[in-house]
Symmetry: C2
């Protein structure tokens, strides 16, 4: 159950979709030269393959569990974590002023994808730390930044994100944890949080909890939420560790997957002595939390890509070795199952969906980089709009794909797929969390239709669709690239129609928008994914023409794009009816008639 980082694929998507050459030209990203990009992917890939991939099964079998307030991680996790932290990988995208390397987020995301493929349960630990770093960089005071950022970036400490309470899941505004001011200017935090990923562990000497809570007299809902730093051990002014804070793990969950990742119930202030430090202004916590969440949503989207990639690699290896049955309509000799058309269809499906989802995620992450680094205000706003628009698609489309593709890859193994020792089942189990956390995929779909489409008068989706339509219009009408054109045109046309329909819904009609949100997001992901694959195919054709690059890789890219356009994309326009049908039928059965 080895893992081979898909270096050529990752580099190609960084070049053609993320346009990392353009990013390198932006102030602050000068270091992201092609050589450095190659070196980063290669070295991180080695860590992922050699150190983290072999620990994936161990983490699944043994898991991380809380016993008497102590969470012990699986054997090998601590050593692997140390190697990762010492390599400087956690701070890859963080600001140089606090010890980060200031490299583009999209490159850090490509590295995160590798680590996630290798060991999804482990990958959540640096992912959450990255989120904490982002939030503190954006919203913490200079003093707080000086105290907390360097240890997080160096990996000496990790970060967590504490939103959820039993009654407040998707509805963050319903949270009840409190923070009351103390005489010394700090706060006393009190409340229970659930589903806290890596909330307690034995990998580092300290943990920086970012906790959402309500201050006295805070307004109801999300407008009355503030963000607090709650360190596990208090931090002295010189950065050394002080007293143990009143923030403790109560228990860990018994989960379907990601067993190596401790999912903690956390008690803050059980002894009324949990010290917290306000980040930014009172009642501005949601904004700060969204900083974390937007990055985290892209990285969670990448979990879908990562797990599908790993599942693909394993299924491919098995299919190339297992001999079983003669080919349908062929000679009588049994063949390796990779020669069977139906197995090839499964493998091509996993391959194509994985690459489509990766392209969306990298485009999204690169837009985040542009929004950050562009000096020109108009370009900055345009990039931010694209990043915001794509984020729910990256999160939900990719994680749905992760589940579906890990299931399909498992199927390739036949009976062996159901046996835990094979490893395919772990991907099927691990992948299932990603459509749920970091905002369920249903929430993402509502975010897309409710917030992201209307942004700036609908400018961003119109401009994205216009760009893709014009790209498709410029494709040759014949040859391999031309084969894809009618499918792409149909899908873009349908997406345009659906987007216009959604944009026209107001008042009572918003119920219809909500009813169509999930199939709309799927159509969006399929269509943009197909178009981004076609862009890669066009660039592959160009390189083949001029004799650049590895012909086998480039031809495979064209075939994969074609497979997606011809075999998978036709599902997109077929969703136009379901999207625009309205909400009535969803509510046609009264609730008491729904059972039975």
């Amino acid at each position: 159950m080895s893992y081979t980082p898909p270096l050529a694929e990752q580099r190609f998507v960084l070049e053609t979709i993320a346009r990392i050459d353009e990013l390198q030209a932006l102030p602050g990203f000068e270091a992201a030269t092609p050589d450095l990009v190659e070196a980063v992917l290669t070295e991180a890939g080695k860590l992922a393959a050699d150190l983290f991939a072999p620990l994936n099964v161990v983490g699944d079998k043994i898991g991380s569990k809380a016993v008497d307030g102590v969470v012990t991680t699986p054997p090998g996790f601590k050593e692997a974590y140390n190697a990762y932290a010492e390599g400087g990988w956690i701070g890859l995208g963080a600001h140089p002023e606090h010890g980060g390397q200031g490299l583009p987020f999209v490159l850090a995301s490509a590295v995160q994808e590798q680590i996630t493929s290798a060991n999804m349960a482990f990958s959540l630990c640096p992912m959450l730390t990255l989120g904490a770093i982002e939030a503190l960089q954006a919203h913490a005071s200079p003093e707080q930044q000086a105290l907390y950022l360097a240890p997080l970036i160096e990996g000496r400490w990790t970060g967590t994100m504490n939103l959820t309470e039993p009654q407040a899941g998707s509805d963050v505004g319903a949270l009840r944890a409190t923070a009351t001011p103390a005489a010394d200017g700090t706060w006393r935090v009190k409340g229970q949080k659930i589903f806290i990923t890596w909330g307690e562990h034995d990998l580092t000497e300290n943990i920086v909890h970012l906790v959402l809570a309500r201050t006295p007299d805070a307004p109801a809902g999300t407008k009355g939420i503030s963000l607090f730093i709650v360190p596990k051990f208090l931090v002295n002014a010189d950065g050394s560790l002080g007293a143990r804070n009143d923030a403790r793990v109560v228990s860990t969950e018994h989960k379907l997957g990601i067993h190596g990742s401790p999912t903690c119930t956390m008690a803050f202030g059980d002894n009324d002595d949990c010290v917290g430090y306000l980040v930014g202004a009172e009642n501005a916590g949601m904004r700060a939390m969204f900083t974390m969440m937007n990055h985290a949503r892209i990285n969670v989207g990448l979990e879908g890509v990562a797990i599908a990639e790993r599942a693909y690699q394993q299924a491919l290896t098995f299919a190339g070795e297992r001999v079983q049955s003669a080919k349908f309509g062929g000679a009588r000799e049994p063949v390796r199952i990779i020669e069977h058309a139906d197995v090839r269809r499964m493998l091509m499906t996993v391959r194509a969906f994985t690459q489509a989802a990766r392209a969306i995620a990298y485009l999204n992450a690169a837009a985040v980089d542009r929004a950050h680094a562009e000096a020109d205000a108009a370009k900055k706003a345009e990039a931010q709009g694209l990043a915001d628009l794509l984020t729910p698609v990256t999160k939900a489309f990719s994680t749905d794909i992760g589940v579906e593709m890990s299931s399909l890859a498992l199927q390739v193994f036949g009976g062996m797929g159901f046996i835990e020792e094979t490893g395919a089942a772990q991907h099927y189990r691990d992948s299932r969390i990603a459509p749920i956390y970091e905002g369920t995929n249903g929430i993402q779909a509502l975010d897309l239709v409710g917030r992201k489409l209307p942004m700036d008068g609908g400018r961003h989706w119109r401009s994205l669709l216009q760009r893709e339509r014009s790209f498709v219009g410029g494709l040759p009408k014949t040859g391999e690239l031309g084969q894809m054109v009618p499918y792409l045109e149909d899908a873009i046309e349908a997406l345009q129609t659906a987007s216009v329909w959604i944009s026209g819904n107001e008042g009572d009609k918003l119920a219809d928008t909500a009813a169509g949100a999930t199939p709309y997001l799927r159509m969006f992901g399929l269509t943009i994914g197909a178009s981004l694959l076609a862009r890669q195919a066009a660039e592959a054709a160009r390189r083949l023409d001029v004799g650049e690059g590895d012909p086998a890789f480039l031809k495979a890219k064209i075939a994969t794009a074609r497979f997606f356009a011809e075999q998978l994309l036709p599902a997109a326009p077929a969703l136009l009816g379901p999207i625009t049908r309205g909400a009535d039928l969803l509510y046609a059965i009264p609730e008491d008639a729904l059972p039975g």
Copy 2:
């Protein structure tokens, strides 16, 4: 995590789709009166709900494991099994001459669905016994029948099905187990079998293994396979138990799901003393095994229905209780999540797919009954043709649905869905085996396009499509029923086109058929499923008109059929392109370029 048998739904499908009234008119099925059908469903449903449903979690947690040749089943399984056997449920569909009740297979299948919803791992035990009963009824000698059938039908013994060997999974013809004749007319069986469901356990005093093996000088492949009875304990002429046979469990598998069901590696003849009894003629084993498999495939298809039904019920209960977030575009108060459009969409999707798959399975099982009981040769052949045609669809479409719907139902729970204690995760894990065993769904798709479509010159698919087209043609063009018509027409038209295309493929073109097999089976399932739901909707409308039956149930049936036609069926015609595109693109990437 209770289970409520969907009695009204099951009865309605038995009435309108299986036409159990017509079955009752056939010789041998006279006992299947409406009152008896109702009593059977009610009583079996009670057993399922009260006895087996509570053991589902226990079975999952504790599992059945082999230790030193002994398999201990989870606490409570033995008592529940005894109650089931003593109630006469195992022999519901078996021949009366050996103690069975001779009721229609479709009714036995409805009971099997209930038990499977309640406890899938347990349900496999009677399911395998049923298969053994079917095979012995059809192929064993009168002496063998006299000795083995009554104890199996009474549930004093259970049956198993031994095909798979490490090198012979989908390719049964590759099996190597041997049987050599002994001087006394019996045989000595030798070989290892894997993945043997309920191969060893502590529920009954004896186990009747049906084992496929090769006799000396048997031809290669499936034509050289013979079927043997290999009892765990030899059976004396008076039916009492004799010596322990040389047939032993080696180990049980550590699986993703169905933990309560022991999946055994079996060693036959390790001490060269495994006594077997030939069933039927030498080298006629595959035919006998197909008798078992065809019934088993329908019952495995029902596993998809059953698990989706259970997952639906649990998700519905949760959605009706959990309060979270205000409605999109609505007032600010948080509502129960069942009021959210997207949650309602998930529930309606699970509901509609479950009912569509159930209708196909029941139609299929009823066709088996007709083929068995019709006196008229033409009607018998027609029924057999329909049964054969539908079997791969029932198996593959329903089990794919089972996986997809248990995943969607899990999503309704949000974060709680990923916690094992919630129970949704078990369905997600349990359901995953059904697309694999009893012939993978890829094998089913090839069976459909390669064997079932061409049967009798394509008469059976043509007659099914003609029947559904003419039904749709007779629907009103307006009103609720009329809403469905264009969707049904599109889908039937596309299925017709795809079927004609497949029927025209010969020689080299068979590779194209194989390439399109899986999406073709999906289109078939979607289209026929939609049409059978529309038939139910039409009958519901008729009953509403004349004031028969429960209006709430009947209106819900119409709404469910409409939801399927309008929201889910559009995926079917969109598969026409992918089905007919041919195999070239599947093989466009050379194997060595598939990694990375």
